[in-house]
Symmetry: C2
Subunit: 236 residues, 2 copies
């Protein structure tokens, strides 16, 4: 069974939902058979790498809020995160995430995506130091996730590396009807939109598990010619 | 709609089936909505990169055939390929394909996988020059597919690059019950095993299209909190 999670590292509800999903998964009896794949979704696709601002300013301008209102919003997110046992540092930076998504695809190719997602959330929401417009900070996190520093640096330096993977994920999200994140998709059958309670994730896991259907295969008997471990039988 | 194709570049039935599938796809009215993904399957997972032999010798040893029988088998494959309008040079080399699969994953990340698959089939089955144990030949094909020579060379030189992607594809094939290739999977619902006639692929496309079901989404109304283009609403 496969669970795909569209998210963005700047999305606080993704941070909270990831923790809730992980609780549901830890309690799911068939968790060993669940493959989790992280998919790209930029909250601000047009935002450049160097376009970094304090989240407070982003909220004030974007929402027309006073500074006090923006700070109250941050306090609220602190409380919501604490409800899942997650630390939250108020007043983080906000920036473009295209390179971060590219790095996550590199991590996926090396079997380290899950580790890197967790470290990126922690770095963005729970640490004072900004991870935006700072490739060396991203390289440090990549190394902490078990990746090679030189290879991670090369990916960050090449704007085309894994770029198509990021865009393909974003096209898929649109096709599936996601208008925001987090967006969880279970075996392409059930979706969970938003930071739902742990129970909602548990139910989606159980439902998707119950509805697994074996592939209907045409030609598994005679019929089409197949190459296998014993070669490629050819009719004479 | 997504079609996943497990295959190996050394598999003549994959070469034939790819052409048949492409005919079915070209005639499919919703072809623009079909995403095709190539997945890795090594016919001989243990075979090393430098372990290259003429296919005639491989067949003689593997099947206990005389040279005449092995040559007759090649003639037959020539006829089968010609039936799809495909050239086939008798007496190709045979070798390990792990690096070729890694390169195909790199091409996928750059949006060039389909181009590279076609060029690899042509190079292996329709050209005199062997593509085994010859990284520069693979780099030439990668460049012809629109990839960067230096980046392709770096992937081939690093045995870990995209290795996990290859293994993940192979695990998935086993989970789906594939015992050989080609193995086509339509939206994880219908499978087509082997080089079936064009009609079988057309039927699978039509069936899978007819059975597309919209995702059942929990929480698309109120409920879970979502970050979207307008930010991340937080309850007060």
């Amino acid at each position: 069974m496969r669970v795909e999670i569209w998210s963005d590292i700047t999305c606080p509800w993704c941070y909270v939902a990831q923790a809730r999903f992980e609780k549901a998964l830890a309690a799911f009896p068939h968790r060993e058979a669940v493959e989790v794949v992280h998919k790209s979704f930029e909250l601000e696709p047009g935002r450049g790498k160097a376009d970094v601002e304090p989240i407070i300013k982003v909220l004030m301008r974007g929402k027309g809020w006073s500074e006090a209102q923006a700070l109250a919003n941050e306090k609220n997110l602190t409380r919501q995160s604490a409800g899942e046992g997650l630390p939250y540092v108020q007043g983080r930076d906000h920036g473009g995430t295209f390179d971060i998504h590219r790095l996550l695809h590199f991590a996926k190719a090396q079997g380290r995506q899950h580790e890197l997602v967790g470290l990126l959330y922690r770095a963005n929401f729970a640490e004072e130091r900004s991870l935006f417009n700072d490739d060396e900070r991203l390289v440090e996190l990549a190394v902490e996730a078990g990746l090679d520093a030189g290879a991670a640096r090369a990916v960050l330096a090449d704007p085309k590396a894994y770029a198509e993977d990021v865009r393909a994920d974003e096209r898929e999200a649109a096709q599936l009807g996601a208008q925001g994140v987090p967006f969880f998709v279970f075996d392409r059958t059930y979706g969970v939109s938003g930071a739902q309670p742990v129970d909602a994730f548990s139910r989606a896991l159980a439902q998707a598990w119950g509805n697994r259907s074996p592939l209907q295969v045409v030609g598994s008997g005679a019929g089409g010619h197949v190459c296998g471990p014993d070669g490629c039988p050819v009719p004479h």
